[in-house]
Point group: C3
């Protein structure tokens, strides 16, 4: 049997010792745990970025993995820490809604527990670093095979992020940029399948910029050309071939995007 996998997603940044401390705690409890870094460059305290990140990454993992997510502006407050099982994927997350976009992808309701069994925690628990003192040791114990029931009781309420707006009005779809990837590509919350229902040809508007060129992939156009396409997850995406659409359009998460068919 494969040794257990624990993935780590944080906003700690690569220069900080906090990720390293968490890895040490995990390996101290379960020396055969296999650590997989997902990202430590989630923008600081950006729960929305984390939510998008998890929705795009976690579904591809085998169900045996345990995913630790520490993007936690509320650390040390009374916000709970949750054990979540959604679609069979197991996560430890602060209760700030970072996982509900992922959870929406699965038809079955999630099982959600509030971490309470302090016997699995490092003592004393600091006020500012629950990643090291709670998340890491609980993940390590789970990877050793303890029953998730033991980490705390089931709960039925949890935080959610506001849904990004998406409306249809006068035959146009009005949504927003939901994510900016490392290339500056703008991924919107507008399903490409809904764009197709509007008719042809499509006109995409971001601010004062009108994008008429619709492609299957970046390389269909010359470098520097602004296009819309379907993202690898099936959403409307705006990109510049070999360029940075976010910088070019001065657009970021939350920027309004409109799609309509040309009259």
């Amino acid at each position: 049997m494969a040794d257990p996998i624990i993935t780590l997603t944080t906003d700690f940044g690569e220069a900080s010792p906090y990720v390293a401390a968490m890895k040490g705690v995990i390996l101290g409890i379960n020396p055969v745990a296999r650590l997989v870094d997902l990202s430590h460059q989630i923008p600081p305290q950006n729960v929305r970025h984390a939510a998008h990140f998890l929705a795009l990454a976690i579904p591809y993992f085998p169900l045996a993995a345990i995913h630790v997510v520490v993007v936690d502006p509320g650390v040390g407050s009374d916000r709970p820490i949750l054990y979540v099982n959604t679609g069979g994927h197991q996560l430890l997350v602060p209760d700030n809604g970072c996982w509900t976009k992922l959870g929406a992808a699965f038809p079955d309701p999630p099982a959600v527990r509030r971490l309470e069994a302090a016997g699995f925690w490092r003592q004393p628990v600091s006020n500012t670093f629950h990643g090291r003192d709670i998340f890491a040791p609980v993940a390590a114990h789970l990877s050793l095979g303890i029953d998730p029931e033991k980490v705390g009781p089931l709960v039925t309420e949890w935080g959610r992020l506001p849904e990004p707006r998406l409306e249809e009005k006068d035959g146009a779809l009005i949504g927003e940029v939901d994510f900016v990837d490392g290339f500056g590509n703008l991924i919107t919350n507008i399903p490409a399948s809904r764009c197709e229902g509007l008719g042809q040809p499509l006109v995409v508007t971001v601010g004062t910029e009108v994008i008429l060129r619709r492609v299957r992939t970046y390389a269909e156009v010359e470098p520097g050309v602004l296009v819309s396409l379907t993202s690898s997850e099936g959403m409307l995406e705006i990109a510049v071939n070999q360029g940075n659409a976010s910088k070019r359009l001065r657009a970021g998460v939350g920027t309004r995007v409109t799609v309509e068919a040309r009259h």
Copy 2:
């Protein structure tokens, strides 16, 4: 038994092939070594950052791990490379003091060896990349179980970093910023326990900025509020909830911090 763990801490940066070359060398000698990245974003040649990093990260690891640290402005000079066993933790470090802050945490004196047994090194040894040619192969051989005695003789002298200043004067504690984490939080060299002895309420001064708000954790205040608190390691910390104290106060490592009780 778990396969051996080798951790890597460097200032090489993520875009460089040097970390990758070291990983290749290690796996070429010990194919079952388990590589754990601690950080490759130590600020270039910043031995003080490395020292703080190691002190905050290494103690959490199981003793079986071997820690490779290549923050080495003196590469190729006659500065020794050391094998250090402190508190049972084993490190390979350049002799520039990067490990002595960590070592101060353990009561027993460290065992320190100067790497000399060139039979464990890649040949020829380059003048500019000892990470690949000495650190990596020696770590790999240690992970195969060779006796540390074989890597070189014991030494009794080694480099130390200057202690950051910390003085008490007229009832005030005067210290400095010792570390800036990825959120811009300022960790000082002033133990929180010593602040408590000054009386109440505490006044923290950084440059011309006076910080009166003392909290247990960031989330006790509104976003944007400047506070002092106790760091996860028990030191006086200055932070902005969901903001960046380093930028806000234009403060960095070495910036003077004063704490006193209000009269």
Copy 3:
């Protein structure tokens, strides 16, 4: 026997979920694969940087590793994806020349296959994320031991990057900066061994700056001094001790460098 190693090199950046998705896909197919991050900070779409990176990193790995390289400005176009075996090292690469500098280091001709066996791919294959849909699953299947013959037919033509210019003229060698490392050191395409044939003392010119100081390693000079030396790979390198030569000389990849003996 050691569990199989799969290394990952991309230009996705650390904040993006794309690397994480690839890791999930690999572990979903081969749960015992050992993932080794080489870099995810290759500058976006910079195939030349990737080429240099691979040439400096891959030769140190044991031959059993499978190297996945996704620096792929042509994703979704009809550019092939290649399985390459060069010097016994196995890579999956877009056909954009990123591997030919590595390949030039080995005397035997490479075996190159064009990925065609879609049975090993995730379905449906997106137009914009072949890393997840083709590279990752094929790497995972190779790590399970399938015969490389099964991934697609041998080909005899592939893309190459233009050679950086290197000429000898009037007793001077004229080359260029081939790579800038994380410290800002400038690695040129001029073999140090050829410099030695020019005579003594050497004069290195970058733009209007003349560099007379030649050293074995950085630490031979005071911090801030500009020097030339031999890189860890045997090329002429230009550096500033504890500084950044790239910023100091405003030089980057492609900047002309001239070496001659002083008259």
